[in-house]
């Protein structure tokens, strides 16, 4: 059943953790709440879990008022940021906890509990470790115990609070893939909180980007990345070059580069342009408008090379990314001069006072598709 969150507000002393947040969560989807710390994502998750309550707003599950349902009756599985494993109980006892505390009428028999715990241990690849205590496990193992414990109660909704936050990089990536596979298999509605954009984009069906208690954009990872709705999303997701453009005779321009065909000819005379590093063309033919740039340095980072380009006419540096193997093909060397222009850009209008008009977004693509 769809979970419908509408107009949630939550204030803590002095600041607004949630500000008119509305969101609907479809059955079976894998949703990421992505944002910097203090953006309200954890508060939202805790409200879903019944660990916190909004000052106003509603959460409906079909016809049912989800907020009026106590935490223990919501059929939720939650994995806490630091796992919150019961330190005095073994792995088996941790996983069985949710079943053992049920009233005797609905409590499964001992044998049933045992069987289900064994099944879950196998599922999270911890067979044979049931007798250990949490302190005797590695971080990745603890995380999987927490997950098994949450799944044991057969929840309708799985909530994960920074599930990979406390793990080191290698374990993180493998657990991430594993979690995605598990989700494909169980089709359990899952909401997870993260501040790591890579994690959100890689794992989730949909991503809700949050900032200062508001949801800036909710969409699939592709749309979030290529069509960011607000300047915040532009800057928070991926790397991006930002520069100002002003109206000239031919349209909005920055230095020698013009982006023709803007939708605001009579209304706005300036805008902010955001260009992804991989959306910069490096060898624009002389016939087309472009900036003269000086390649100051090449930072080789494995499969990708980051180019530090200084553009005198913008009086700033831009970053361009190319595949490492293309460096030689393009004959790129530090110190050389290049003609550079964006292939696409996201622009936000600026009003006369210099303020960004967030709802005036324009996604610009170069007309001719001549690749550098």
């Amino acid at each position: 059943m769809t979970l419908e969150l509408s107009h949630l507000n939550r204030r803590f002393a002095g600041f607004s953790a949630l500000d008119e947040v509305s969101l609907s969560i479809a059955p079976g989807e894998f949703l990421a709440l992505l944002g910097p710390s203090g953006s309200g994502k954890t508060t939202l998750l805790r409200i879903l879990a019944g660990l916190d309550y909004p000052d106003s707003g509603s959460v409906l599950k079909g016809e049912e008022d989800f907020l009026a349902t106590p935490a223990r009756e919501r059929r939720i599985g939650m994995v806490f940021q630091h796992y919150a494993l019961f330190r005095h109980l073994t792995v088996t006892e941790n996983i069985a906890f949710g079943l053992r505390v049920r009233p005797w009428r609905t409590r499964p028999s001992r044998a049933k509990i045992h069987e289900r715990v064994d099944r879950l241990l196998a599922r999270v690849q911890l067979d044979g470790l049931g007798g250990r205590y949490p302190t005797q496990l590695s971080g990745g193992q603890r995380q999987r115990v927490a997950l098994a414990r949450a799944l044991a109660v057969e929840p309708d909704l799985l909530l994960l609070d920074e599930p990979f936050g406390a793990l080191d990089a290698l374990v993180r990536v493998s657990l991430r893939r594993w979690l995605r596979e598990l989700h494909e298999e169980l089709k359990l509605t899952t909401v997870f909180v993260t501040h790591d954009q890579e994690e959100a984009l890689e794992l989730a069906d949909r991503v809700a980007v949050m900032n200062q208690g508001r949801i800036e954009q909710v969409d699939t990872p592709e749309v979030i990345y290529h069509q960011p709705a607000t300047p915040f999303v532009c800057e928070f997701i991926g790397k991006v070059n930002k520069f100002g453009v002003r109206r000239h005779a031919g349209g909005l321009a920055a230095g020698a580069w013009v982006c023709e065909g803007d939708p605001w000819p009579e209304r706005y005379n300036a805008a902010w342009a955001y260009v992804r590093p991989e959306q910069l063309r490096l060898a624009v033919p002389p016939a087309q408008p472009a900036w003269d740039a000086w390649l100051r340095h090449i930072y080789l980072a494995g499969s990708v090379a980051h180019l530090d380009l200084h553009v005198p006419s913008l009086d700033q540096s831009l970053e361009a990314d190319v595949a490492s193997e293309d460096l030689a093909r393009l004959g790129l060397q530090a110190g050389m001069r290049l003609r550079v222009a964006p292939r696409s850009a996201v622009l936000f209008a600026q009003d006369a006072g210099g303020h960004t008009v967030e709802r005036e977004r324009w996604i610009w693509h170069a007309q001719d598709r001549v690749h550098a």
Partner: protein
Amino acid sequence: MTSRLRRRPLGWPRRLARLVLIVLALVFLLLFLVLPLTTVFIEAFRQGVGAFVEAIRQPEALSAMRLTLLVATIAVPLNVVFGVAAAWAMTRFQFRGKAFLGALIDLPFSVSPVISGLIYVLMFGAQGWFGPWLERHDIKIIFAVPGLVLATVFITLPFVARELIPLMESQGSEEEEAARVLGASGWQMFFRVTLPNIRWALLYGVLLCNARAMGEFGAVSVVSGHIRGLTTTMPLEVEMRYNEYDYVGAFAVASLLALLALLTLGIKTLMEWRYGDELATHAPGGH
């Protein structure tokens, strides 16, 4: 800080300084702590084991022991329940006046034992607030067992709470929240998650609380009335015998209390070694 590799050997002036500091500290500890403790046992056995045994087998001594046990058996559980409740409220919820509540819990530590006894005399004594009413209903509190219990409860009130609050603060409430989300009821959460997590700290608090309850002198001395065989606890019995120049008798009872102190220290040290990580970091436990 465990042993860290020294980068260079120490020169002799430094080694000498070290030795002098260690010797100074140990001489002080020996003269100031070990010597008084030894004195208690030596004085108790000054006239031999027979005199010692006789001194502690006298009916007054036995009734003092019984009374001390009785008072501790009532006061300690009361403060355990209070300590758990106060620590739960203080560490799991935000509310106005929390700092004030914390200060109030600590207050008995900074009140003179004599004043701790005095305040109950002023409440329940013959000239106290409830004195006339109590007299009319023939209820005795001051110069009777209830007074001893009240004064002891006051003196030992902070021990358990003070031990639990920092520990529960540092443990956080995530495990309890997890239990709730998994469907545990309030009491299930308390008995299956909270209590097991604080058991050693609780026991530690009980240990200190009990040692103080059995050894308290000033506060109970004010409310006791020193009625032999009825309202004298062991420390009061020590005082009375000492003032009657019955030194062997006084030290015999005192040696039992000293033994209790040593036992407490031993268990306490053992617990700190074994379960140090499940206890709060040790601020001094008050008086």
